[in-house]
Subunit: 137 residues, 2 copies
Amino acid sequence: MESKEIIKILRDRGLKVTVQRLATCKYVLARQDHPSADQIYSALKIDYPTISLGTIYKTLSLMKDLHLVQELGFKDGTIRYDPNLNLHINLVCTSCGKIHDYKPENIEVIWKKLLSNLHVKPEGQRVDIYYKCSDCL
Amino acid sequence: MESKEIIKILRDRGLKVTVQRLATCKYVLARQDHPSADQIYSALKIDYPTISLGTIYKTLSLMKDLHLVQELGFKDGTIRYDPNLNLHINLVCTSCGKIHDYKPENIEVIWKKLLSNLHVKPEGQRVDIYYKCSDCL
DNA sequence: GTAACTGCAAACGCTTTGCACTCCC
DNA sequence: GGGAGTGCAAAGCGTTTGCAGTTAC
C-alpha cells in the first residue's frame, strides 16, 4: 500500500499522520512474514533511531482497529502481525519461527466445501501449517 | 483416556505418578474446549485444594513433550491446551473465548486437496474459525 | 493554540524458574 | 533412602498504561 493511501485512511478517521505512524504502517503492510512488534522496532530503529516500542504497539493496535492487520498469537507468547486478511495459509517454521504466506489454487472453493455443513457465520479464520523451512532442515 | 493408560504412559517414561499429575492429565484430556492453565487450576482446586499453578504448568509442559497436547497461542497472550492432535477446526468465539472442536465430513480428503501443491512436509497444523457463539450473539 | 501523539518508564498478566520440603517407588 | 515432584514466591518477558513533553493541523 502506498503512503498516499495510508495517509488517507488515517485522515479519514481524524487521526494524525506522524512519521512514526506512517513508517510503522508502511513497514507492516509491505511484509509477508508477519513480524513481531520487536522485529518491527529493530527494523525501524535504523531509519528512525528515536522511535519507541510503545509507539509501535500503539500504532499496531490502531491498525488492528482499522482492520489493516490481524493479530496472530503464538505459543511462545508473542504476537505477530499479519496484513493479509484474505483466506491464506501461514507456513510457520517450527525452528526459526519464520512465517510466509501460501495461497493454494482454488483455496476459496476448497474452503467453502470444508465449511458447507457449518451452521455459524465465520468472522474470520486462521490456518497455520507447521514445518521446517529449508534453512532449518 | 483412562487413568490406567495415563499411568502407563508416565511410567514408561520413568516419570512418577502423583495425584496432581494424574488429575491434570485426566482433566485436560477429557476436555474439548481447550482450557487455559488458569481454567485448569480453577477447576482442579475444588477437588485438590493445595494444587499449585506452577505444578499445572509443569505438567502441561510434560504433556506437550509426551505429545498428549498441542499448545495454541491466542492474541490476548494466553496459551490454551488442545488434546486433539488430529486434523480438526477450532471454533473460537470472539466474545467469550470459548472454543470447541469441529470435524467436518471428509476433512482429511479436502485438506489433502488443499495441500496437494505444497512442496514441504507438514509437521502439524492449526485451523481456527472465529465467530460469535450462541450465548454471545 | 490545542488536542493528539511520542518516548520513557513503570505496571501488568501470563509463564517459567529456583529452592526447600515432600512423597513416590 | 534417594531422587523426582510439589508448592510457593520471585523472576522473566512481551505487552499495556500513564504522563510530561512535543508536534500535527
